[in-house]
Amino acid sequence: MKYFPLLWATLWRKKTRTWLTMFSLVAAFLLLGLLQAANSLFYGGTINLSANLLITQARVSFTSPLPLRLLPQLEAVPGVEQVSWSQFFGGVYKDPKNFFPQFAVVPERWLKTFTECTLPAEQAEAWKGSRTAAVAGRQLAERFGWKVGDRIPLNSQIFPLKDGSRAWAFDLVGIFDNTTADSCPRMGNMYIRYDYFDEARLFGQGTAGIYVLRITDPNRAEAIGRQVDAMFENSPDETKTQSEKEFNLNFVRQVGNLSLILNAILGAVFFTILLLTGNTMSQAVRERIPELAVLKTLGFSNGGVLGLVLAESLLMCVIGGLVGMALASAAMVALAHAPVSFPPLRADATVWLIAVASMLGVGLLVGLPPALRAMRLSIVDGLSGR
């Protein structure tokens, strides 16, 4: 630590060069933070889903509805605590750009199945008490500035009303929230009542989109899934049951092999950054050869000089990297509050781990060659500037 002033002084020996290298490092780590956060979204790292929920969909596709008559059979499966069903409503709020998902559900079942989300008791009663009532997650309500008591008009892209019109409207009676931090992954959704929806829609009566099963023991998820699917095998309503996590991951993976593309970009960025900082460090050492020789004359050991140069390179990469990551985190917070629908990017522990490992890795890799050169430097050659 006592060498820190020396380190700091050598780092800023050529201010322009250090600033420019720092800025490049900041840009590289800003990208790393954002792209790794996106990557971690793809691998499900940030999807905070309960292991107790299974999704039963039609085998052919989750867009094909399943009939409600499957319900008693599903409820009879041992280990299944609660069954809820939901139909995707496909509503557009004012403009297609305002996309958010809405589902028709049975309030009593929803409340017992999605226990990671909480709705105040009087709001839950109000939801059960009125057929056109709806509830929304806090995040969604904040996005559009909704308050309890607002009337929300929605144009369903899928379901016309009996008279052929698509203009539905619902009364917002409740806003649900997390029970503990980030426990409720449904904060951007809205839920309407299935009974009203089913009666009012032009077609499709008596069908649910998917069933959501709450199970008592997450370790039995696979076995229960297999048992459910076996019950309906070879019927027109064959099912596919998987954990909610797998269901969502599959959904994201449908977009394609994005992580390959993201990693290719990161590879290009880091190759460049290695070259750039490596060049800066070797220049910095080359210019200072007489100074390094002086240090050795003063009694610094070979190892000490090696350490000094390495520490300088590490310091530069860590400062640049931390600033870049801080910018990336700020950008993600800004995105989360942006008025567009955007998957929730977050720099979680994995992202930070990768970032810090990269800072140290780049620092060592670019610092080592000039540091070795400094270590092997002979005092006489160095002092004469040879």
């Binding site: 322009t16 490049s24 954002l34 596709s61 867009t63 892209q157 095998e233 064959e238 060049n279």
Partner: protein
């Protein structure tokens, strides 16, 4: 002019002596341009596939107020009315050239390992006239499906991207077995990502009664559209939207193209900022190593302008080399690579990356800009150096 040429050539000949910092510019800019071109070529290829779909003299009818075929339902009672719309072409037997089609989503497997996913693929129920309506659809293997039998033909793109759809394979939808009896191509359009079967077979298997998702019809000519739209408007029973097939598919590519465009701009802009600082750094150090040389030139009578231009030329040449390298790498790695992604209809669309000359040009423009911005401040510093101090070696 002679001065400029002399000094610039001298400068360029010295590049090998500064290989490390020159490479920083070349590689840095190659990275920016490579990523930019590769990502834009994805949007380009996707857009090209959808824009190649459809003809402007074919009519596409969807339920009123919906934007995609998947969410559209045409109820059975209005289909006969739609088939008799004015302005539709008829075949030799006097039947209107119409195909009321049902589109349902099926899941097929794509990829291996961590990338394995069950992806949404369109199964299109086509009426017998639907094949006649689309002369671009050509069989490349096997035979067409037989109406009434559970048989499917697979688009070329789907056959290439998804597992278990080779000729003779058996697919299981809703508890029944369907045989793949053929593969078709359709001029590289979006239908090549679909499975086709007979409309009535699909309706009964998927319990859709007599309804359809959309109706495709051959118009007498592209000019028939306003008359048809007026006829629809005049009949209160018809709550449907009619457009040309081309207009429908073009609108489907907009969202994806915009999203990719935005993502690309953000990533490329951050990378460009990084590369710009790298270029500035390298050019400043190039100028400082040449300090004595530049000062000598100034002392023997060279003016400031040739010095500025020589530094700028060096920066630009290095930047352009980087740009060409990046565009070339993007071309070699990605051009014509086939991938599939989720389209606006919520189903997979297979498409080829298209690294077009326009995109490469765009990449080179970025490279030039970074080179200019990175070269200018060091060039000005070089020209402003005090000759006496510089000669002393700073």
């Amino acid at each position: 002019m002679k001065q400029i040429l002399a000094i610039t050539l001298m400068n360029l000949r010295a590049i090998p002596q500064r290989l490390g910092s020159s490479l920083v510019i070349v590689i840095g800019i190659a990275g920016v341009v490579g990523v930019l071109v590769a990502m834009l070529s994805m949007a380009q290829g996707f857009g090209a596939t959808l824009k190649a779909t459809g003809k402007d003299d074919r009519l596409m009818v969807l339920a009123g107020g919906v934007t995609s075929e998947l969410s559209s339902t045409l109820m059975p009672d209005i289909l006969p009315l739609l088939r008799e719309l004015p302005g539709l072409a008829r075949d030799a037997e006097g039947r209107p050239l119409v195909s009321a089609e049902l589109v349902v989503i099926t899941e097929l497997r794509r990829g291996e390992g961590a990338q394995r996913a069950d992806v949404n693929v369109s199964l299109r129920g086509v009426e017998p006239l639907g094949l006649q309506l689309r002369p671009e659809a050509k069989l490349i293997e096997g035979r067409w499906f037989t109406p009434g039998l559970r048989e499917v033909v697979v688009g070329k793109g789907a056959a290439n991207q998804f597992q278990g759809v080779q000729l003779g394979a058996v697919l299981k939808f809703r508890g029944s077995e369907w045989t793949v009896v053929g593969t078709f191509s359709a001029d590289g359009d979006a239908h090549e990502s679909e499975l086709w079967t007979d409309a009535n077979t699909a309706r009964s298997a998927f319990g859709r009664g007599g309804s359809a998702s959309s109706m495709l019809a051959q118009m007498q000519s592209a000019q028939s559209l306003p008359g048809i739209q007026a006829a629809i408007k005049a009949d209160p029973r018809l709550q449907v939207d009619a457009s040309t097939e081309v207009a429908y598919y073009s609108s489907q590519s907009q969202q994806f193209t915009q999203q990719i465009g935005m993502l690309t701009s953000v990533v490329a802009a951050i990378m460009a900022v990084g590369a710009l600082f790298g270029a500035l750094n390298s050019m400043y150090s190039a100028v400082s190593t040449r300090q004595v040389e530049i000062a000598t030139l100034r002392a023997i009578g060279f003016s400031g302008l040739p010095v500025v231009l020589s530094v700028l030329t060096e920066a630009l040449l290095l930047a352009l080399t980087g740009g060409v390298l990046g565009a070339a790498v993007a071309y070699v790695l990605f051009n014509n690579m086939t991938v599939s992604t989720l389209g606006a209809n919520f189903t997979q669309i297979a498409f080829n990356f298209a690294v077009t000359p326009e995109l490469m040009q765009k990449g080179l423009i970025w490279a030039t800009l970074i080179g200019l911005l990175g070269g200018l401040p060091p060039a000005i510093r070089a020209a402003r150096m005090r000759v006496v101090e510089a000669l002393r070696g700073g």
